[in-house]
Amino acid sequence: MDSKKEFIAVIQANAGLIYKVTRVYTNSKEDAQDLYQEIVYQLWKSFASFRQEAKITTWMYRVALNTSVTYLNKSKKKGAHVQVDEGLLNQPDATDTLQEEQLLILYAHIKNLNPVEKAIVLLYLEGKTYEEIAAITGFSVTNTGTRLSRIKQKLINQIH
């Protein structure tokens, strides 16, 4: 029972992390709901093995990103899923129209990247260091740096 309570607290504290991964890796609200639920399920399944990990968010990003792998090439999924209807998967209320517009552009640019680039840029935007990105993705620190430079260039090309 204690581990269940602990798990709930972890999810509640990091709900935004799961939300951002689902936003980047899905194209519809139904898929986002499905992926969100799947990530929570996978986190629950491996919660017992997490304890040795240094940082809880590193473990959560790893599980969330690995779960999103099985959602590549998927369009709207049918079937029963928990209705995450509490505004959880809606766009956060932006303070002004300009901010909202910029957010949409931001997501659009990220969604144009391939799955590897999406993961790296997401972790970079989340403020992770190259070492942390390397630990989550499995690429070397040097390779992560090289890839980020390429992503920067790709984003510049996308924008202009």
Binding site: I8, V40, L72, G127
Partner: protein
């Protein structure tokens, strides 16, 4: 928008999300429970149902094998049995490989590699199923007709006429499906190449 500017926007958005996103205890518990049922219904049930139907056909043909009077019916039955036994097993294995990405124990690169290889194998089985499925229909129809109604369809001219009519439609369908499979295969190849860089 440069990457640094994007990062600033992202941080602003994250702060907004943290303030707004609420998830209840009940919802979290529900997510783990309903999900388990989903996994069963989405993957296992349709695949297992298909395999059971295939095996049921096999058992029926094997039990009534002695009723097949001509050599060509025996050949058709043997081909049908091989396809009905091998294809579902291959399909289940490919799905298992694709779905068995080690989510908790792998890093993202390993998970992507495992998934891309599994998906390529799955697409190969799907392509194989498309053509063997057509062969299966061709061989199973006369066999079942003889076993159920005692009629030899090979001696009926109409059968060949129907086959001839259906063939162009099958080819159009096959070409369309093949195009989709090739697109996915190319995507997986490019993903694998990206991982190797």
């Amino acid at each position: 928008m440069e990457l640094e500017e994007m990062k600033a926007r992202w941080t602003e958005m994250s702060a907004t999300i943290e303030k707004q996103k609420q998830i209840t205890d009940t919802l979290i518990i529900k997510m783990t429970q309903v999900n388990y049922r989903n996994r069963l219904s989405k993957i296992l049930i349709p695949e297992l149902a298909g395999t059971l139907v295939s095996f049921a056909y096999c058992i029926y043909i094997i039990i009534n094998f002695h009723k097949l009077t001509s050599w060509y019916m025996v050949v058709c039955a043997v081909i049908g049995l091989i396809i009905l036994m091998v294809l579902p097993v291959m399909s289940l294995k490919a799905i298992y490989n694709m779905k068995s990405v080690n989510i908790a124990g792998s890093n993202y690169k390993q998970a992507l590699l495992q998934y891309a290889k599994g998906k390529r194998q799955f697409i190969f089985v799907q392509k194989l199923s498309l053509y063997t499925g057509a062969i299966l229909m061709l061989v199973l129809l006369p066999v079942m007709c003889q076993l159920l109604a005692g009629k030899d369809l090979f001696k009926m001219v109409k059968l060949w006429m129907w086959y001839a009519i259906a063939f162009p439609f099958f080819m159009i369908f096959a070409k369309w499906v093949y195009g989709y499979y090739m697109k996915t295969t190319r995507q997986m190849d490019s993903l694998l190449q990206e991982l190797e860089e």
